[in-house]
Protein backbone atom coordinates (compact mmCIF):
# COMPACT_ATOMS: atom_id res chain seq x y z
CA UNK A 1 0.00 0.00 0.00
CA UNK A 2 2.76 2.39 0.97
CA UNK A 3 4.59 1.67 -2.24
CA UNK A 4 1.59 2.64 -4.29
CA UNK A 5 1.55 6.09 -2.77
CA UNK A 6 5.02 6.78 -4.09
CA UNK A 7 4.07 5.53 -7.48
CA UNK A 8 2.73 8.86 -8.67
CA UNK A 9 4.14 9.35 -12.16
CA UNK A 10 6.42 12.41 -12.53
CA UNK A 11 4.11 13.89 -15.15
CA UNK A 12 1.37 14.15 -12.54
CA UNK A 13 3.69 16.06 -10.20
CA UNK A 14 4.61 18.43 -12.98
CA UNK A 15 1.00 19.01 -13.81
CA UNK A 16 0.42 20.44 -10.33
CA UNK A 17 3.15 23.04 -10.76
CA UNK A 18 2.71 26.31 -12.55
CA UNK A 19 4.94 27.28 -15.43
CA UNK A 20 6.89 29.71 -13.27
CA UNK A 21 7.59 27.16 -10.56
CA UNK A 22 8.89 24.76 -13.17
CA UNK A 23 11.27 27.38 -14.51
CA UNK A 24 12.45 28.18 -11.01
CA UNK A 25 13.20 24.56 -10.24
CA UNK A 26 15.02 24.22 -13.49
CA UNK A 27 17.17 27.30 -12.98
CA UNK A 28 18.00 26.41 -9.39
CA UNK A 29 18.99 22.94 -10.53
CA UNK A 30 21.19 24.39 -13.24
CA UNK A 31 22.77 26.84 -10.82
CA UNK A 32 23.52 23.97 -8.49
CA UNK A 33 25.30 22.06 -11.25
CA UNK A 34 27.36 25.09 -12.27
CA UNK A 35 28.28 25.79 -8.67
CA UNK A 36 29.36 22.21 -8.07
CA UNK A 37 31.44 22.25 -11.22
CA UNK A 38 33.10 25.51 -10.20
CA UNK A 39 33.79 24.20 -6.75
CA UNK A 40 35.36 21.07 -8.17
CA UNK A 41 37.47 23.11 -10.58
CA UNK A 42 38.65 25.43 -7.81
CA UNK A 43 39.55 22.48 -5.62
CA UNK A 44 41.46 20.88 -8.49
CA UNK A 45 43.41 24.07 -9.15
CA UNK A 46 44.17 24.42 -5.45
CA UNK A 47 45.57 20.91 -5.30
CA UNK A 48 47.58 21.60 -8.45
CA UNK A 49 49.08 24.63 -6.77
CA UNK A 50 49.75 22.72 -3.55
CA UNK A 51 51.58 20.04 -5.52
CA UNK A 52 53.84 22.61 -7.14
CA UNK A 53 54.46 24.33 -3.80
CA UNK A 54 55.38 21.05 -2.09
CA UNK A 55 57.80 20.30 -4.89
CA UNK A 56 59.41 23.74 -4.66
CA UNK A 57 59.60 23.56 -0.85
CA UNK A 58 61.31 20.17 -0.90
CA UNK A 59 63.76 21.36 -3.52
CA UNK A 60 64.44 24.54 -1.50
CA UNK A 61 65.03 22.71 1.77
CA UNK A 62 66.75 19.52 0.65
CA UNK A 63 70.09 20.98 -0.55
CA UNK A 64 70.38 22.95 2.69
CA UNK A 65 69.73 20.16 5.16
CA UNK A 66 71.26 17.10 3.50
CA UNK A 67 74.89 17.01 4.61
CA UNK A 68 77.58 16.82 1.96
CA UNK A 69 75.51 18.42 -0.77
CA UNK A 70 77.22 21.27 -2.54
CA UNK A 71 74.63 24.02 -2.91
CA UNK A 72 76.38 25.17 -6.08
CA UNK A 73 75.56 21.83 -7.64
CA UNK A 74 71.90 21.76 -6.58
CA UNK A 75 70.80 25.38 -6.50
CA UNK A 76 67.47 25.88 -4.68
CA UNK A 77 64.56 27.64 -6.44
CA UNK A 78 65.24 30.94 -4.71
CA UNK A 79 68.73 31.05 -6.23
CA UNK A 80 67.41 30.08 -9.64
CA UNK A 81 64.75 32.78 -9.48
CA UNK A 82 67.34 35.40 -8.54
CA UNK A 83 69.47 34.35 -11.52
CA UNK A 84 66.39 34.28 -13.74
CA UNK A 85 65.49 37.79 -12.70
CA UNK A 86 69.00 39.07 -13.40
CA UNK A 87 69.06 37.44 -16.83
CA UNK A 88 65.62 38.75 -17.67
CA UNK A 89 66.56 42.27 -16.56
CA UNK A 90 69.69 42.53 -18.70
CA UNK A 91 67.91 41.02 -21.73
CA UNK A 92 70.30 38.09 -21.98
CA UNK A 93 67.60 35.45 -21.70
CA UNK A 94 65.34 37.15 -24.23
CA UNK A 95 68.20 37.35 -26.73
CA UNK A 96 68.99 33.65 -26.40
CA UNK A 97 65.34 32.68 -26.60
CA UNK A 98 64.87 34.88 -29.65
CA UNK A 99 67.73 33.33 -31.60
CA UNK A 100 66.50 29.82 -30.74
CA UNK A 101 62.97 30.74 -31.80
CA UNK A 102 64.18 32.14 -35.12
CA UNK A 103 65.96 28.88 -35.91
CA UNK A 104 62.97 26.82 -34.89
CA UNK A 105 60.64 28.90 -37.05
CA UNK A 106 62.86 28.77 -40.14
CA UNK A 107 63.47 25.03 -39.87
CA UNK A 108 59.84 24.33 -39.09
CA UNK A 109 58.59 26.21 -42.14
CA UNK A 110 61.03 24.49 -44.51
CA UNK A 111 60.64 21.02 -43.05
CA UNK A 112 56.88 21.03 -42.74
CA UNK A 113 56.22 22.45 -46.21
CA UNK A 114 58.44 19.75 -47.67
CA UNK A 115 56.65 17.19 -45.50
CA UNK A 116 53.20 18.28 -46.68
CA UNK A 117 54.24 18.25 -50.34
CA UNK A 118 55.89 14.83 -50.17
CA UNK A 119 53.01 13.48 -48.10
CA UNK A 120 50.48 14.69 -50.68
CA UNK A 121 52.31 13.08 -53.57
CA UNK A 122 53.17 9.81 -51.87
CA UNK A 123 49.64 9.53 -50.54
CA UNK A 124 48.04 10.08 -53.95
CA UNK A 125 50.39 8.15 -56.22
CA UNK A 126 50.72 4.47 -55.33
CA UNK A 127 53.79 4.06 -57.54
CA UNK A 128 55.64 6.86 -55.81
CA UNK A 129 54.61 5.53 -52.42
CA UNK A 130 55.90 2.01 -53.07
CA UNK A 131 59.18 3.37 -54.36
CA UNK A 132 59.81 5.91 -51.63
CA UNK A 133 58.50 3.96 -48.65
CA UNK A 134 61.59 1.94 -47.66
CA UNK A 135 63.99 4.87 -48.11
CA UNK A 136 61.85 7.34 -46.17
CA UNK A 137 61.03 4.91 -43.39
CA UNK A 138 64.67 3.92 -43.16
CA UNK A 139 65.74 7.54 -42.82
CA UNK A 140 62.95 8.20 -40.35
CA UNK A 141 64.13 5.56 -37.92
CA UNK A 142 67.52 7.27 -37.52
CA UNK A 143 67.42 9.62 -34.53
CA UNK A 144 67.79 13.20 -35.79
CA UNK A 145 70.30 13.91 -33.01
CA UNK A 146 72.71 11.52 -34.67
CA UNK A 147 72.88 13.86 -37.67
CA UNK A 148 74.32 16.70 -35.59
CA UNK A 149 78.00 15.78 -36.15
CA UNK A 150 77.35 15.15 -39.83
CA UNK A 151 75.59 18.49 -40.22
CA UNK A 152 78.59 20.22 -38.70
CA UNK A 153 80.98 18.48 -41.08
CA UNK A 154 78.81 19.38 -44.06
CA UNK A 155 77.53 22.84 -43.21
CA UNK A 156 79.95 24.20 -40.63
CA UNK A 157 78.94 26.06 -37.47
CA UNK A 158 76.68 28.85 -38.73
CA UNK A 159 72.92 29.01 -38.95
CA UNK A 160 72.69 26.60 -41.89
CA UNK A 161 73.37 23.32 -40.05
CA UNK A 162 70.88 24.19 -37.33
CA UNK A 163 68.10 25.11 -39.71
CA UNK A 164 68.90 22.06 -41.85
CA UNK A 165 68.71 19.77 -38.82
CA UNK A 166 65.40 21.22 -37.66
CA UNK A 167 63.97 20.95 -41.18
CA UNK A 168 65.14 17.35 -41.34
CA UNK A 169 63.58 16.51 -37.99
CA UNK A 170 60.25 18.23 -38.65
CA UNK A 171 59.91 16.74 -42.12
CA UNK A 172 59.18 13.19 -40.99
CA UNK A 173 56.27 13.61 -38.59
CA UNK A 174 54.57 16.01 -41.02
CA UNK A 175 55.19 13.73 -43.97
CA UNK A 176 53.88 10.62 -42.27
CA UNK A 177 50.70 12.14 -40.92
CA UNK A 178 49.96 13.98 -44.18
CA UNK A 179 50.49 10.70 -45.97
CA UNK A 180 48.05 8.87 -43.70
CA UNK A 181 45.51 11.67 -44.01
CA UNK A 182 45.74 11.74 -47.81
CA UNK A 183 45.63 7.97 -48.10
CA UNK A 184 42.49 7.75 -45.98
CA UNK A 185 40.52 10.49 -47.74
CA UNK A 186 37.10 8.94 -48.48
CA UNK A 187 37.04 7.72 -52.08
CA UNK A 188 33.59 9.22 -52.45
CA UNK A 189 34.96 12.78 -52.17
CA UNK A 190 37.49 12.20 -54.90
CA UNK A 191 34.99 10.46 -57.15
CA UNK A 192 32.41 13.19 -56.66
CA UNK A 193 34.96 15.85 -57.51
CA UNK A 194 36.06 13.93 -60.59
CA UNK A 195 32.52 13.46 -61.84
CA UNK A 196 31.91 17.18 -61.36
CA UNK A 197 34.80 17.76 -63.72
CA UNK A 198 37.67 18.69 -61.39
CA UNK A 199 41.17 18.31 -62.79
CA UNK A 200 43.95 16.54 -60.89
CA UNK A 201 45.28 19.77 -59.41
CA UNK A 202 41.85 20.82 -58.28
CA UNK A 203 41.26 17.43 -56.70
CA UNK A 204 44.59 17.58 -54.94
CA UNK A 205 44.35 21.06 -53.48
CA UNK A 206 40.63 21.60 -53.08
CA UNK A 207 39.44 18.13 -52.11
CA UNK A 208 42.24 15.94 -50.81
CA UNK A 209 44.25 18.54 -48.91
CA UNK A 210 41.28 20.02 -47.00
CA UNK A 211 40.01 16.53 -46.18
CA UNK A 212 43.43 15.55 -44.85
CA UNK A 213 43.87 18.78 -42.87
CA UNK A 214 43.21 17.34 -39.39
CA UNK A 215 45.99 14.82 -39.90
CA UNK A 216 48.31 17.45 -41.34
CA UNK A 217 47.81 19.58 -38.27
CA UNK A 218 48.36 16.68 -35.90
CA UNK A 219 51.69 16.17 -37.66
CA UNK A 220 52.56 19.86 -37.51
CA UNK A 221 51.85 19.94 -33.81
CA UNK A 222 54.09 16.95 -33.21
CA UNK A 223 56.73 18.64 -35.35
CA UNK A 224 56.82 21.75 -33.13
CA UNK A 225 57.80 19.56 -30.18
CA UNK A 226 60.45 17.83 -32.27
CA UNK A 227 61.82 21.18 -33.45
CA UNK A 228 62.41 22.31 -29.88
CA UNK A 229 64.32 19.14 -29.07
CA UNK A 230 66.54 19.38 -32.13
CA UNK A 231 67.35 23.05 -31.76
CA UNK A 232 68.76 22.26 -28.33
CA UNK A 233 70.83 19.38 -29.66
CA UNK A 234 72.16 21.53 -32.49
CA UNK A 235 73.02 24.41 -30.19
CA UNK A 236 74.69 22.26 -27.57
CA UNK A 237 77.41 21.34 -30.02
CA UNK A 238 78.37 24.52 -31.76
CA UNK A 239 76.64 27.87 -31.41
CA UNK A 240 77.24 31.31 -30.03
CA UNK A 241 73.67 32.08 -29.02
CA UNK A 242 70.46 30.31 -28.20
CA UNK A 243 69.07 28.48 -25.20
CA UNK A 244 71.03 25.31 -25.93
CA UNK A 245 74.18 27.42 -26.08
CA UNK A 246 73.21 29.03 -22.78
CA UNK A 247 72.97 25.59 -21.18
CA UNK A 248 76.25 24.31 -22.56
CA UNK A 249 78.00 27.57 -21.68
CA UNK A 250 76.77 27.40 -18.09
CA UNK A 251 77.96 23.82 -18.03
CA UNK A 252 81.46 25.01 -18.88
CA UNK A 253 81.47 27.71 -16.21
CA UNK A 254 79.78 25.49 -13.59
CA UNK A 255 76.74 27.77 -13.21
CA UNK A 256 74.03 25.24 -12.53
CA UNK A 257 71.55 27.98 -11.67
CA UNK A 258 71.97 29.34 -15.20
CA UNK A 259 71.43 25.85 -16.59
CA UNK A 260 68.17 25.65 -14.68
CA UNK A 261 67.12 29.00 -16.09
CA UNK A 262 67.83 27.66 -19.58
CA UNK A 263 65.85 24.48 -18.92
CA UNK A 264 62.99 26.49 -17.50
CA UNK A 265 62.92 28.80 -20.50
CA UNK A 266 62.94 25.82 -22.85
CA UNK A 267 60.07 24.18 -21.02
CA UNK A 268 58.03 27.39 -21.02
CA UNK A 269 58.71 28.05 -24.71
CA UNK A 270 57.81 24.50 -25.68
CA UNK A 271 54.63 24.65 -23.65
CA UNK A 272 53.66 28.06 -25.05
CA UNK A 273 54.34 26.97 -28.61
CA UNK A 274 52.09 23.96 -28.17
CA UNK A 275 49.35 26.02 -26.53
CA UNK A 276 49.57 28.68 -29.23
CA UNK A 277 49.31 25.99 -31.85
CA UNK A 278 46.22 24.53 -30.24
CA UNK A 279 44.62 27.97 -29.96
CA UNK A 280 45.44 28.79 -33.59
CA UNK A 281 43.93 25.51 -34.67
CA UNK A 282 40.73 26.24 -32.84
CA UNK A 283 40.65 29.72 -34.36
CA UNK A 284 41.31 28.64 -37.94
CA UNK A 285 39.44 25.35 -38.08
CA UNK A 286 36.78 25.29 -35.40
CA UNK A 287 35.13 22.32 -37.10
CA UNK A 288 38.05 19.96 -36.43
CA UNK A 289 37.13 19.22 -32.87
CA UNK A 290 39.14 16.05 -32.54
CA UNK A 291 42.45 17.86 -32.89
CA UNK A 292 41.83 20.31 -30.11
CA UNK A 293 42.95 18.44 -27.06
Amino acid sequence: MAAEKHDVPPAAVNANLTEREKLEIESSFRNEIVATRHRRLRRGLMFNLIGVLIFLAVWEVLPRIVPGVNIQMFPPPSGVIATLYGMLADGQLAAHAWSSLKRVAAGFVIGSSAGILVGLFTGRLALLQSMSDPVLHGLRSIPAIAFVPLAIVWFGLGETPKIALISWGTFFPVWISTFIGVRDVPKLYVQSALSLGAGPLNVMFRVVLPAAMPFVFAGLRHATAVAFVIVVAAELVGASSGLGYLISFSHLVFRIDMMFVGLLALGVLGFLADAAFAALLQRLFPWYRAERS
Binding site: M131, P143, I145, V153, L236, V237, M259
Partner: protein, 281 residues
Protein backbone atom coordinates in the same frame (compact mmCIF):
# COMPACT_ATOMS: atom_id res chain seq x y z
CA UNK B 1 18.43 -38.72 -58.45
CA UNK B 2 17.75 -35.78 -56.22
CA UNK B 3 20.69 -36.67 -54.06
CA UNK B 4 22.94 -36.91 -57.09
CA UNK B 5 22.07 -33.47 -58.44
CA UNK B 6 22.54 -31.84 -55.08
CA UNK B 7 25.92 -33.57 -54.72
CA UNK B 8 26.91 -32.39 -58.18
CA UNK B 9 25.73 -28.92 -57.32
CA UNK B 10 27.76 -28.96 -54.16
CA UNK B 11 30.96 -30.03 -55.93
CA UNK B 12 30.32 -27.39 -58.54
CA UNK B 13 29.88 -24.78 -55.90
CA UNK B 14 33.03 -25.88 -54.09
CA UNK B 15 34.93 -25.72 -57.35
CA UNK B 16 33.67 -22.23 -58.06
CA UNK B 17 34.56 -21.16 -54.59
CA UNK B 18 38.10 -22.51 -54.73
CA UNK B 19 38.60 -20.98 -58.15
CA UNK B 20 37.42 -17.65 -56.82
CA UNK B 21 39.59 -17.87 -53.72
CA UNK B 22 42.57 -18.95 -55.81
CA UNK B 23 42.06 -16.02 -58.11
CA UNK B 24 41.88 -13.60 -55.24
CA UNK B 25 44.87 -15.16 -53.59
CA UNK B 26 46.86 -14.89 -56.80
CA UNK B 27 45.84 -11.27 -57.32
CA UNK B 28 46.87 -10.41 -53.80
CA UNK B 29 50.17 -12.20 -54.26
CA UNK B 30 50.79 -10.34 -57.50
CA UNK B 31 50.07 -7.04 -55.80
CA UNK B 32 52.42 -7.94 -52.97
CA UNK B 33 55.19 -8.91 -55.38
CA UNK B 34 54.66 -5.75 -57.39
CA UNK B 35 54.92 -3.64 -54.27
CA UNK B 36 58.03 -5.46 -53.06
CA UNK B 37 59.58 -5.02 -56.49
CA UNK B 38 58.82 -1.30 -56.47
CA UNK B 39 60.23 -1.03 -52.94
CA UNK B 40 63.42 -2.66 -54.13
CA UNK B 41 63.48 -0.37 -57.18
CA UNK B 42 63.17 2.65 -54.93
CA UNK B 43 66.07 1.59 -52.72
CA UNK B 44 68.19 0.75 -55.76
CA UNK B 45 67.38 4.11 -57.34
CA UNK B 46 68.29 5.91 -54.13
CA UNK B 47 71.62 4.11 -53.85
CA UNK B 48 72.34 4.63 -57.53
CA UNK B 49 71.62 8.35 -57.30
CA UNK B 50 73.87 8.62 -54.27
CA UNK B 51 76.62 6.57 -55.95
CA UNK B 52 76.52 8.78 -59.04
CA UNK B 53 76.80 12.10 -57.20
CA UNK B 54 80.62 12.32 -57.49
CA UNK B 55 80.33 11.53 -61.21
CA UNK B 56 77.73 14.20 -61.82
CA UNK B 57 79.22 16.87 -59.58
CA UNK B 58 83.01 16.52 -59.69
CA UNK B 59 83.39 19.53 -57.40
CA UNK B 60 81.98 17.58 -54.44
CA UNK B 61 84.62 16.20 -52.16
CA UNK B 62 84.16 12.41 -51.92
CA UNK B 63 85.60 12.48 -48.40
CA UNK B 64 82.68 14.63 -47.29
CA UNK B 65 80.10 12.74 -49.31
CA UNK B 66 81.20 9.10 -49.49
CA UNK B 67 79.38 6.84 -51.94
CA UNK B 68 77.59 3.66 -50.78
CA UNK B 69 80.38 1.48 -52.20
CA UNK B 70 82.95 3.39 -50.16
CA UNK B 71 80.82 3.14 -47.03
CA UNK B 72 80.43 -0.58 -47.53
CA UNK B 73 84.18 -0.99 -48.05
CA UNK B 74 84.70 0.60 -44.62
CA UNK B 75 81.80 -1.28 -43.08
CA UNK B 76 82.96 -4.81 -43.88
CA UNK B 77 86.36 -4.78 -42.10
CA UNK B 78 84.81 -3.03 -39.09
CA UNK B 79 82.17 -5.73 -38.91
CA UNK B 80 84.54 -8.66 -39.22
CA UNK B 81 87.05 -7.20 -36.80
CA UNK B 82 84.32 -7.14 -34.15
CA UNK B 83 84.41 -3.37 -33.66
CA UNK B 84 80.82 -2.87 -34.75
CA UNK B 85 79.28 -5.79 -32.80
CA UNK B 86 81.02 -4.67 -29.60
CA UNK B 87 79.75 -1.10 -29.97
CA UNK B 88 76.25 -2.30 -30.76
CA UNK B 89 76.24 -4.55 -27.70
CA UNK B 90 77.35 -1.69 -25.45
CA UNK B 91 74.72 0.68 -26.84
CA UNK B 92 71.93 -1.87 -26.66
CA UNK B 93 72.81 -2.75 -23.08
CA UNK B 94 72.69 0.91 -22.03
CA UNK B 95 69.41 1.56 -23.82
CA UNK B 96 67.82 -1.62 -22.52
CA UNK B 97 68.84 -1.03 -18.90
CA UNK B 98 67.54 2.53 -18.95
CA UNK B 99 64.37 1.49 -20.69
CA UNK B 100 63.63 -1.31 -18.22
CA UNK B 101 64.28 1.01 -15.31
CA UNK B 102 61.93 3.59 -16.82
CA UNK B 103 59.29 0.94 -17.47
CA UNK B 104 59.19 -0.16 -13.85
CA UNK B 105 59.30 3.37 -12.43
CA UNK B 106 56.96 4.85 -15.03
CA UNK B 107 54.24 2.26 -14.57
CA UNK B 108 54.56 2.46 -10.79
CA UNK B 109 54.37 6.28 -10.86
CA UNK B 110 51.46 6.24 -13.27
CA UNK B 111 49.46 3.80 -11.18
CA UNK B 112 50.27 5.61 -7.98
CA UNK B 113 49.41 9.08 -9.26
CA UNK B 114 46.24 8.13 -11.10
CA UNK B 115 44.63 5.94 -8.45
CA UNK B 116 43.48 8.77 -6.22
CA UNK B 117 42.04 12.17 -7.00
CA UNK B 118 44.39 13.84 -4.54
CA UNK B 119 47.64 12.56 -6.03
CA UNK B 120 46.28 13.15 -9.50
CA UNK B 121 45.72 16.84 -8.86
CA UNK B 122 48.93 17.21 -6.89
CA UNK B 123 51.20 15.78 -9.55
CA UNK B 124 49.56 16.82 -12.80
CA UNK B 125 51.19 20.23 -13.25
CA UNK B 126 54.60 18.83 -12.32
CA UNK B 127 54.18 16.08 -14.85
CA UNK B 128 53.35 18.49 -17.64
CA UNK B 129 56.11 20.84 -16.54
CA UNK B 130 58.79 18.17 -16.63
CA UNK B 131 57.51 16.84 -19.87
CA UNK B 132 57.92 20.10 -21.73
CA UNK B 133 61.66 20.25 -21.02
CA UNK B 134 63.52 18.41 -23.80
CA UNK B 135 65.58 15.58 -22.33
CA UNK B 136 68.53 16.42 -24.54
CA UNK B 137 68.91 19.64 -22.60
CA UNK B 138 69.46 17.58 -19.46
CA UNK B 139 72.60 15.97 -20.88
CA UNK B 140 75.02 18.69 -19.66
CA UNK B 141 73.33 18.76 -16.26
CA UNK B 142 73.58 15.02 -15.88
CA UNK B 143 77.25 15.13 -16.88
CA UNK B 144 77.85 17.59 -14.03
CA UNK B 145 75.82 15.59 -11.52
CA UNK B 146 76.67 12.03 -12.40
CA UNK B 147 79.84 12.31 -14.47
CA UNK B 148 80.30 10.52 -17.77
CA UNK B 149 80.25 6.97 -16.47
CA UNK B 150 77.94 4.15 -17.35
CA UNK B 151 75.47 5.10 -14.61
CA UNK B 152 74.96 8.60 -15.96
CA UNK B 153 74.02 7.31 -19.41
CA UNK B 154 71.61 4.76 -18.05
CA UNK B 155 70.08 7.42 -15.79
CA UNK B 156 69.61 9.77 -18.74
CA UNK B 157 67.97 7.12 -20.87
CA UNK B 158 65.73 6.21 -17.95
CA UNK B 159 64.77 9.86 -17.43
CA UNK B 160 63.87 10.33 -21.07
CA UNK B 161 61.91 7.10 -21.33
CA UNK B 162 60.16 7.62 -18.00
CA UNK B 163 57.77 10.44 -18.93
CA UNK B 164 55.91 8.89 -21.86
CA UNK B 165 55.35 5.73 -19.82
CA UNK B 166 54.20 7.71 -16.82
CA UNK B 167 51.77 9.78 -18.88
CA UNK B 168 50.38 6.80 -20.79
CA UNK B 169 49.90 4.77 -17.61
CA UNK B 170 48.40 7.77 -15.86
CA UNK B 171 45.80 8.27 -18.59
CA UNK B 172 45.12 4.56 -18.90
CA UNK B 173 44.57 4.02 -15.19
CA UNK B 174 42.60 7.24 -14.74
CA UNK B 175 40.18 6.38 -17.53
CA UNK B 176 39.46 2.78 -16.56
CA UNK B 177 35.77 2.13 -17.07
CA UNK B 178 33.99 2.69 -13.78
CA UNK B 179 31.76 -0.32 -14.43
CA UNK B 180 34.79 -2.62 -14.33
CA UNK B 181 35.82 -1.28 -10.95
CA UNK B 182 32.31 -1.59 -9.52
CA UNK B 183 31.88 -5.10 -10.86
CA UNK B 184 35.18 -6.15 -9.33
CA UNK B 185 34.20 -4.56 -6.02
CA UNK B 186 30.82 -6.33 -6.10
CA UNK B 187 32.53 -9.64 -6.68
CA UNK B 188 34.65 -9.02 -3.61
CA UNK B 189 38.02 -8.12 -5.13
CA UNK B 190 40.48 -6.50 -2.74
CA UNK B 191 42.59 -3.50 -3.72
CA UNK B 192 45.49 -5.67 -4.88
CA UNK B 193 43.31 -7.97 -6.96
CA UNK B 194 41.57 -4.94 -8.47
CA UNK B 195 44.90 -3.40 -9.32
CA UNK B 196 46.48 -6.40 -10.99
CA UNK B 197 43.44 -8.15 -12.43
CA UNK B 198 41.26 -5.21 -13.44
CA UNK B 199 43.03 -1.84 -13.64
CA UNK B 200 46.32 -2.86 -15.22
CA UNK B 201 44.81 -5.11 -17.90
CA UNK B 202 42.29 -2.38 -18.74
CA UNK B 203 45.06 0.20 -19.04
CA UNK B 204 47.37 -2.13 -20.96
CA UNK B 205 46.70 -0.83 -24.50
CA UNK B 206 47.69 2.68 -23.48
CA UNK B 207 50.67 1.46 -21.49
CA UNK B 208 51.89 -0.48 -24.50
CA UNK B 209 51.58 2.63 -26.68
CA UNK B 210 53.61 4.56 -24.12
CA UNK B 211 56.26 1.85 -23.99
CA UNK B 212 56.60 1.87 -27.76
CA UNK B 213 57.02 5.62 -27.85
CA UNK B 214 59.55 5.65 -25.07
CA UNK B 215 61.57 2.92 -26.75
CA UNK B 216 62.19 5.30 -29.63
CA UNK B 217 63.01 8.07 -27.16
CA UNK B 218 65.49 5.95 -25.26
CA UNK B 219 67.47 5.43 -28.45
CA UNK B 220 67.50 9.19 -29.12
CA UNK B 221 68.63 10.01 -25.59
CA UNK B 222 71.24 7.30 -25.75
CA UNK B 223 72.72 8.92 -28.84
CA UNK B 224 72.79 12.31 -27.14
CA UNK B 225 74.42 10.81 -24.05
CA UNK B 226 77.05 8.94 -26.00
CA UNK B 227 77.86 11.94 -28.18
CA UNK B 228 78.54 14.01 -25.08
CA UNK B 229 81.16 11.73 -23.61
CA UNK B 230 81.74 8.01 -23.92
CA UNK B 231 84.43 5.51 -24.78
CA UNK B 232 82.27 3.00 -26.59
CA UNK B 233 78.92 2.68 -28.29
CA UNK B 234 77.51 3.36 -31.74
CA UNK B 235 77.20 7.11 -31.25
CA UNK B 236 80.73 7.20 -29.81
CA UNK B 237 81.87 5.57 -33.03
CA UNK B 238 80.13 8.37 -34.90
CA UNK B 239 81.73 11.11 -32.86
CA UNK B 240 85.12 9.46 -33.43
CA UNK B 241 84.33 9.53 -37.14
CA UNK B 242 83.53 13.22 -36.79
CA UNK B 243 86.82 14.01 -35.12
CA UNK B 244 88.81 11.98 -37.63
CA UNK B 245 86.87 13.49 -40.56
CA UNK B 246 85.74 10.00 -41.54
CA UNK B 247 82.28 10.69 -42.89
CA UNK B 248 82.02 7.06 -44.01
CA UNK B 249 82.23 5.93 -40.37
CA UNK B 250 79.55 8.46 -39.47
CA UNK B 251 77.32 7.04 -42.19
CA UNK B 252 77.85 3.55 -40.80
CA UNK B 253 76.78 4.83 -37.39
CA UNK B 254 73.63 6.39 -38.86
CA UNK B 255 72.86 3.18 -40.69
CA UNK B 256 73.29 1.11 -37.54
CA UNK B 257 71.14 3.45 -35.47
CA UNK B 258 68.37 3.40 -38.05
CA UNK B 259 68.49 -0.38 -38.24
CA UNK B 260 68.48 -0.72 -34.47
CA UNK B 261 65.54 1.63 -34.06
CA UNK B 262 63.58 -0.11 -36.78
CA UNK B 263 64.40 -3.60 -35.51
CA UNK B 264 63.42 -2.80 -31.93
CA UNK B 265 60.15 -1.27 -33.03
CA UNK B 266 59.29 -4.34 -35.12
CA UNK B 267 60.32 -6.62 -32.26
CA UNK B 268 58.07 -4.73 -29.89
CA UNK B 269 55.10 -4.91 -32.24
CA UNK B 270 55.71 -8.62 -32.80
CA UNK B 271 55.99 -9.26 -29.07
CA UNK B 272 52.77 -7.43 -28.24
CA UNK B 273 50.99 -9.37 -31.01
CA UNK B 274 52.37 -12.57 -29.53
CA UNK B 275 51.67 -11.78 -25.89
CA UNK B 276 48.41 -9.86 -26.19
CA UNK B 277 46.79 -11.01 -29.42
CA UNK B 278 43.48 -9.51 -28.37
CA UNK B 279 44.87 -5.95 -28.46
CA UNK B 280 45.63 -5.84 -32.15
CA UNK B 281 44.93 -2.18 -32.83
Amino acid sequence: MAVDTSAAETTHRVELETAFLDGRHRARRRLFLLRAGLNLCGVALFLLAWESVPWLFPSINPVLFPTPSLVFATFWPMLTSGEIPVNIAVSVRRAATGFLLATVLGIAAGVFTARSRLTEYLTEPLLHGFRSVPVIALVPLSVLWFGIGEGAKVALVATGAFFPIWIATFIGVRDVNLVYLRSAACLGAGPLATMFLVVLPAALPLILAGLRQSMAISLIVLVAAELSGATSGVAYMMSMGHQLFRVDIMFIGLLLLGTLGFAFDRLFVWLTRRLFPWYVN
